[in-house]
Amino acid sequence: MPSAKPSLALAAAALALWGCAQMGTGSGGMAAKSADGIPLGTSSPHPVQPLPDKPRLGHAISEADVAAWNIDVRTSDGQGLPPGRGSVAEGREVYAAKCVACHGADAKGGAVYGTMVGGIGSFTTNARVLTPGSMYPYAPILFDYIRRAMPMDKPQTLTANEVYALSAYLLQLNGLVPADAVMDASSLPKVQMPNRDGFILDDRPDTKSVRCMSDCK
């Protein structure tokens, strides 16, 4: 956020140079990592806006106004999961009606997409296996992704109960919940995913090349 307020003359000079985007180039004061340790790269902050007053053109709304858009789930603990519930058996029915055409019988892959079953332990071989058992450290990722993006020809049309049921069914096909499991805002985040601890923070740069000019290698 703009912090210092330069004089009006300085601000005008900054404006004149703006088009070149040559200002604030890497030696800025931004920390190299975020508070959570994410590498941020170098800073290229914007010149301070040379206005006496902020425009304040936004229109105040309430969280209730945003409810239909507010579909994100914090998948590590399930914050944002809605009311509702769904069983493995119900999920099997929803799957047969709305998913099987692309993903195939028993979610083993179909005409368009590969399998959503198996892959547990695949981390040790490093090849990316796009299954919940391999690449989803948290079970609510299933809920968030299905609700926002599936089915591909009609996304954001499934009910919360249908999405919980599909989550239960896919987890059961992967052997991660029993056949009588029921998923809701309380039970889904508690499902232990195989690769919960399989991810590490970005630790680049991870190469230290030297600028050899002759007789290299």
Partner: protein, 419 residues
């Protein structure tokens, strides 16, 4: 600067070729078969200006097009990508019709009159903005490269792609215009506990990513224009995020929602997709900076050198960690290197053009470029990256050195993993 540039060029070229260029010039001075005729375009009027029209390139440039990958067979084209023809791009700016595309459920056509942008979550006052509101804010224009994290993922250890469009074309150079994200977030009032920001699209994938607040406040833009006109639909019309120097996927297009929280969300794209395999069986997450990289765009894969003699090696270099400090080129597969000339302007997190004269003797050669950025980071070879990461399957964040092999016929081929 141009003067120094030229002097530098001649000095290097003389040192390099040792007079071979002068010899070649003498050899081409023979008389042509027939004297030059007056062209018909001199002898009849051209087309008149239409009353109103959007200009298009010459019909003789119709081959300069974006294209989808020809390496993979995509069984659906809703989650798909097209690539920029870098071999035809002479400068650092990519024309709007050639900027690469990547989206996860097709391109929506959004009416700017009804589109709304919302900021909410851990803020003092949730806010809604119309497009008319957004364009009234103090605006900023900035040049930046834009690169997909998957650029080059088909070509790590052996050649799969023929042209630089296919190896490196998930890359474009753009002048973005919009509002600093900090301006809008400041108006909503960020909760002191807020640390992460969600960006979400109004497309059929409702594409979304978590971004650390520090980066959002530092240089992130809410953008409505590119290269002097409104965003193109495939690039996020009417409004998108641009997060300079980071993998393109975080620069969410068709932006409808911004939410502040104290933790990341760990969306599917943040665990299953945009992560990197490590040799110890772990996967690296939130690897978002696009590291220093370069590629020779001419001569490049699929091209044909017509004659021995003078050729200018040309290419692009860029870094998500700052400015390009230097680019070296090799014509012998990396045994010896010399510094190329960088062309102004050299801007932060932006494509930078480099050039080096080359006297092709007519024999086999392997061309490479190696960029150094303002942090001192030197672009690695794939072999050096492989010491740190597991390169198995479609791995992202490929910034390895690209070799192009030239044979005695002048044919240029992708030589990744072979040089």
């Amino acid at each position: 600067m141009a003067k120094n540039d030229r002097r530098d060029f001649f000095r290097r070229s003389a040192a390099l070729t040792g007079g071979a260029i002068a010899g070649a010039a003498a050899a081409t001075s023979a008389a042509r078969a027939a004297p030059l005729a007056v062209p018909p375009t001199n002898q009849e009027p051209g087309r008149i200006i239409e009353e109103s029209a959007y200009g298009v390139p010459s019909k003789y440039e119709a081959h300069v097009k974006r294209r989808r990958t020809d390496v993979l067979k995509n069984r659906q084209n809703l989650s798909d990508w097209s690539m920029t023809p870098l071999q035809y791009q002479p400068g650092i700016i990519t024309p709007n019709g050639l900027i690469f595309e990547r989206h996860h459920a097709g391109t929506p056509d959004i009416d700017p009159r009804t589109h709304r942008l919302v900021i909410h979550g851990m803020v003092k006052q949730p806010l809604e903005f119309t497009m008319d509101d957004l364009v009234r804010y103090p605006s900023v224009s900035r040049f930046h490269f834009h690169e997909c994290s998957g650029n080059g993922l088909t070509d790590w250890v052996k050649p799969a792609s023929t042209t630089v469009q296919q190896t490196h074309g998930l890359l474009s150079g753009v002048l973005w215009t919009g509002v600093p994200a900090a301006t809008l977030l400041d108006e909503a009032g960020i909760d002191p506990k807020g640390k992460w920001v969600l960006f979400e699209g109004a497309d059929a994938s409702a594409h979304t990513r978590s971004v650390p607040l520090e980066k959002v406040l530092d240089d992130t833009l809410i953008v409505y224009a590119m290269n002097g006109e409104a965003l193109r639909p495939e690039n996020g019309y009417p409004v998108r995020v641009v997060i300079p120097g980071w993998e393109g996927n975080v620069s969410v297009k068709w932006l409808r929602r911004v939410k502040v929280s104290d933790q990341p969300w760990y969306f599917r794209s943040e665990t299953a997709r945009y992560t990197d395999p490590m040799p110890n069986g772990k996967w690296r997450k939130f690897s978002m900076v696009m590291e220093c990289k370069s590629v020779i765009t001419s001569p490049s894969g699929g091209q044909q050198l017509k004659n021995p003699g003078f050729h200018e090696i040309r290419g692009l270099a860029w870094s998500g960690s700052g400015k390009i400090r230097a680019v070296d080129v090799s014509t012998d597969g990396g045994k010896t290197w010399r510094e190329a000339t960088l062309e102004e302007p050299i801007m932060d997190k932006c494509l930078t053009r480099f050039k080096a004269p080359w006297d092709w003797k007519g024999g086999p050669a392997v061309l490479m470029s190696r960029a150094v950025d303002s942090t001192g980071y030197v672009q690695p070879t794939v072999a050096e990256i492989q010491k740190a990461r597991a390169i198995a399957g479609f791995v992202q964040h490929h910034n390895g050195i690209q070799p192009w092999a030239v044979n005695e016929k002048g044919e240029v081929r992708n030589a990744i993993g072979q040089a």
